[in-house]
Subunit: 439 residues, 2 copies
């Protein structure tokens, strides 16, 4: 039997509490699976008096991060503080003190992956982060270990449970965005300030992490085009439904060509219309799902709870067992993540990505509007797949009526140029609304 | 750079050809991901003259298994012959010659897992088998590595692509079983002799492998109750649809209680009615999907191509890279599979599993039949959720009419006793048809 593995948990909020629960309540299970005793030796918090619903062994709760990181009986530091400033320093200090690090901090990886991983390689220690993307869904292992025979060619993923919960509530219950957000907050699926979830930032951080693994690119925030769900209107959810689609906030990566020198990968987060029969359309509530296409295996899909105390703790503890077994160290060395190693991919703006589009306008019912809109699309070589325009009511001839157009495949850049032109039309009430359509 | 890893492929049918393709065409990719050169050194076949659509380096194709297994330049033997007799001997010989083994052979693992794994431990070598279950879906890693913080409490899985293809064709196209089977054979989704696929044997072998990982039980074939799809009638597919369900061939494991001494696990393969809105109901064609509930993470789902040349080869090569990296050896040692280690679970027959049931009878329209059927169910303490019985046509009063009953939850044993009694009723035309309902 190898020597016990000592663990420090830094930050004991929701996920930290879940990790502590497993370490204290399931020690027999963890030992059986790793062949080593795994011992929780330090829990560092800001306020030790706060009730956390978990019983800690006496003497391990404290407020001194530096002492925990330096403690020679600690071999693994689990960073669950969040944020990118103090958290980064804690991670770097832990690595230079010779500890392995486990983190659920996608913002830190997206912001400072190169710095953190360089420090880890210099210290000959591993950084593990299964919990950073998609909570309890083991997508990191899937990409980094299970699909290693493949070059990934695309990723389409629901990575933000809050947004998916809101979109599901809007689609099923006919609620407005504001009503669905209030419901999500009541049920604990959305924070009091939901900005990072609903504006696509959280999903973009997670996509940056997946893109590093799948393509070896280190995407900066501005390289990931981002559109949130915070301006989605009930009307568009309804039109999507009538057309046979569901709107999902997707984080997507598209490689072109699939592999080889001078390949590119386009990354974006956007509300996307997916066919109701598509697996991603079936993903409801706060669940996450990732569909990965590999050039050898084809299409695979991974789904599960994308957040929450125990699901995320499940992924943190899986990393811990991997470190105890010695598997994580091998994986870390082999994957060479954020090492700058060129795998042949560069990031390209989404302009060149070809897609179908949903375009919805509110127009005054006057002669020539549809002709002008169609002309603007034609000028960008975009052909139209279908049009829905209902009659204005006779008693309100000046009322704005929705005009819905589905296009055939077109380059995103061309489509945007057409929309820019359409937005100048005097018969429009408000700006055009548009979403990509994944078919 | 570590020394090159030498590989022998034994058996070059569909999957073997896929593996050889990847090894010969993607050597740069494999080296980049494993940090070692991976070299195909032997390919052993029965008929070297047969065209395989792949170009081999000269001098490596042969018919001598023993020479390949003894070759000191070979470090990993990939067994893709199939069958359980010669294949077992090849695997044991490879292990005793000091080679690691990769196999896609679920029948071998289900039949002789204990013997093979004991030999591997004695030789201090690893046996890897991601490709043995669900083709390209990385379910072995999910259970053995990603969910290690969990005790799995249930598995519900579509593990046979042939059966799923046939059921999808029956449900979508209104085809009979015979018609759908012919279509599957035409398209290469079913063998000329489809018995092992459609009678549930193949799914049962795979379930035995998953149950070993998740519960530490070594299920013998007779301990897995098995009902295939080969007697499914179009009528029942139609009734299922009317009731809001889809019939899927599921391999299921149910633990009770979830963990601890004296836990049991019930294993069965059966056509099961799943709600149309359930993720498993959406799995179409030859795809596989596995839904796993863990006591920490909750519900996760894994889906992808369940068979075929390249998907299965993707899993074989992932194992090979794991061996090259050194990860597989760590995993093999930690998992202690088929070691007889008691994890607290014993296998119990399905009798005690509680489920809802679909019961369909063909009855002559005469007084008292429904009363008798209801009485037989009531005698076993089974209550009825809904009944559908249509009128017989007036011009055919003696015609058999279908009577469809959905029950509330009941123990399987009680339900079977009731069905046995119902089958003796003189008004029945043919035996009762029944399927579990997963709600």
């Amino acid at each position: 039997m190898a020597e016990p593995l000592g663990v420090a948990v830094i930050g004991c909020g929701t996920v930290g509490t879940g990790v502590v629960k497993i370490l204290t309540e399931q020690s027999g299970r963890l030992e059986q699976r790793s062949g080593r005793s795994i011992q929780l030796r330090r829990v560092v918090v800001r306020d030790p008096a706060k009730a956390r619903g978990v019983t800690l062994p006496s003497g391990i709760l404290g407020t001194d991060v530096a002492a925990a990181v330096r403690d020679p009986s600690v071999h693994v530091v689990i960073e669950l503080m969040g944020g990118t400033t103090t958290a980064k320093q804690v991670v770097l200090d832990a690595l230079s003190a010779g500890k392995h690090v486990i983190t659920a901090n996608k913002a830190l990886l997206a912001d400072a992956g190169a710095e953190v991983f360089a420090a880890a390689r210099a210290a000959e220690r591993a950084v593990c982060f299964e919990a950073a993307v998609a909570g309890g869904v083991p997508i990191i292992r899937a990409l980094a270990e299970s699909l290693t025979a493949n070059q990934v060619t695309s990723i389409q993923a629901i990575l933000n449970g809050t947004s998916n919960f809101i979109l599901t509530a809007m689609a099923d219950g006919g609620r407005s965005y504001a009503e669905a957000l209030v419901e999500a907050q009541k049920l604990g699926y959305a924070e009091a300030d939901p900005t990072l979830d609903v504006d696509g930032s959280d999903a973009a951080h997670k996509l940056a992490v997946l893109a590093q693994i799948a393509f070896g690119v280190a995407a900066r925030p501005h390289e990931i085009e981002r559109q949130g769900i915070d301006h989605i209107e009930a009307m568009d959810i309804r039109f999507a439904g009538e057309l046979g689609y569901t709107i999902k906030l997707l984080a997507e990566a598209w490689a072109s060509p699939a592999a080889g020198r001078n390949s590119t990968v386009a990354l974006h987060v956007a509300p996307v219309m997916v066919r109701k029969t598509d697996m991603l359309a079936q993903v409801r509530g706060a669940y996450n799902a990732i569909q990965v296409i590999g050039d050898v295996v084809g299409e695979t899909l991974y789904q599960g709870p994308g957040a929450g105390m125990m699901p995320t703790a499940s992924s943190v503890v899986a990393d811990l067992i991997d470190l105890a077994v010695g598997r994580a160290q091998k994986s870390f060395a082999a994957a060479k993540l954020w090492s700058g190693a060129d795998r042949g991919f560069s990031i390209e703006p989404s302009e060149k990505v070809r897609s179908r589009f949903y375009l919805r306008l509110l127009v005054r019912d006057q002669p020539g509007v549809l002709a002008d809109v169609c002309r603007a699309l034609a000028d960008e070589h975009i052909s139209i797949s279908s049009v829905i325009q209902h009659e204005a009511r006779e008693d309100h001839p000046d009322q704005l009526v929705p005009l819905v157009i589905m296009t055939h495949y077109a380059a995103t850049g061309h489509f945007r140029a057409a929309v820019k032109m359409i937005d100048t039309h005097p018969a429009l009430g408000g700006k055009a609304v548009s979403y990509p359509v994944d078919d």
